[in-house]
Amino acid sequence: MAERELELIFGPQHLGMVGNLSISLNVEGDTILSARVNPGYLHRGFEKLMEYRNWIQNFPLVCRINMIESEPVEMVYAMAVESLAGIEVPERAHYIRTMIQEMSRLSCHLTAAWAYTSILGFDTPAQWAMGDRDYLLDLFEELTGARVYHIYNMPGGVRRDLPEGFEDKLLAFLDAVAGRLPDYNSTFFENRLFFERASGIGKISAQDAVALGGTGQVLRGCGIKHDIRKLEPYAAYGDMDFEIPTREGGDAFSRVLVIRDEMVQSVSILKQCIEKMPSGKVYEKTPNPFKWKIPKGETYVRVESARGEFGLYLVSNGGNRPYRAHFKTPSFVHGLVILEKLLQGANIADVGNIMLSLYVIAPEIDR
């Protein structure tokens, strides 16, 4: 270590750190020479826990991998089990799943907006974002019975049908959010100050983004139109009309604007869901949980979470519980590979900024 170099441990208890993660920075002055992310503060060994629980008992477990957005996790697990066991999901369940995926995307993006705005010092939109998200949580609660861990996308469909009058409440919420977006724009997304604070920060080239395994906003912020919802439509996304917003810049600013545009798309998808919602049953009964065995096999399923590709590699050896489950979470590469790369040469002041623009969520890294 040169004389002026210094090792600086950033987090887990730090005001600039969102989530329980720590980064050790090798700095010279306030320029970061290299960074090393130190995860594991939230490691619970999910994939091992899953090997000890049967197919149904895993269903309430998996959503805990990501507290901000539990739906994609439930979704990949349900899809993986359905694909291994050969279960057909009713049409209406597909639509409800699409709906709840988008609600969850919206909620996650609002959380991101809260975190990002507050770390950049835009307190007004931060308060709005969290407040708006809370109304969405009310809707989640109405639909699923819980605010955070919904435990709703079950192998075989969804757990309960829509409650009465839910569509109207959701529409009212969507209108309110859509009406608020111009205010978000004027105070934040189109605010000159935001441009100054985020533009050029954490810049990554398209080649690097692909080579390092980036997905989601990291790719779309570099102009690559990549979205599992279009690439390999699951649930009812094949029937939905929406666009993949992209930006060319590759920096924090572009990634955040992609998030903003995705919220607009989400609102539109949700409206289409309500419009096209078919009738019928929402749940195909799965076998008795105590006796359910799934034939030997393996599968990889993936969905587009708010942060990028969320995948699950699930292996069954013909038993009543998974033999091996391995989650491919977007934050794993974003947080451990791309973040380390982007921090090189950045300033200490930008650590939180870069980390949040990559949308890194610590429990998803650790699992």
Binding site: S83, V210, L219, E232, E298, G311, R324, H326, K328
Partner: protein, 165 residues
């Protein structure tokens, strides 16, 4: 998909490809040719390594490494698999082919104990002061470990009771 399998089989005699439903292809290769297969796949458009999974087939005394690779344009997702011996498991690193392979290898090294030759950074990722066998191995009895480690620590009531007696 079949074309790709045909091509692969043409170049690498001992590989085998099998479709696993829509857009999923499983390529099984022996230890020696996995990296060459990956290299070939990268050259033919599968730029991104999504993840590396490891499966512990204890009864067969083997680990299975699964490389998930995908292209950006097509929905095809490939799982390149190979089996390696479980005792003193070693495998060459894939960093020269995929830059982000290192972190997955580091995770597998910690959780399964597979040694990746050529990977410069195999420090523990999640765990601190881990003294048992790697926890994701099938012969690691988690519930037993939990009982020994956490339940043996006395509760405050037990402590007070002990102090008084």
């Amino acid at each position: 998909m079949d074309k790709l399998v045909g091509l692969l089989k043409g170049i690498f005699k001992d590989t085998d490809g099998e479709s696993l439903g829509k857009n999923r292809l499983r390529v099984t290769a022996p230890r020696g040719s996995v990296l060459a297969v990956l290299d070939y796949l990268k050259a033919s458009g599968f730029y991104q390594l999504k993840s590396i999974s490891c499966v512990d087939w204890m009864d067969e005394n083997e680990f299975e490494l699964v490389y998930h690779v995908a292209s950006m344009e097509s929905p095809l997702h490939l799982m390149v698999k190979t089996r390696i011996a479980r005792d003193n498991a070693t495998f060459p690193t894939a960093i020269p082919i995929f830059k982000n392979a290192g972190i997955f290898e580091r995770e597998i090294h910690e959780l399964f104990g597979v040694e990746f030759e050529g990977n410069p950074d195999l420090a523990p990722l999640f765990l601190e002061n881990w003294k048992e066998i790697p926890p994701f191995r099938k012969d690691f009895n988690m519930r037993e470990y939990v009982k020994e480690t956490y339940d043996s620590i006395p509760s405050f009531e037990e402590y007070q009771w002990q102090k008084e007696n």
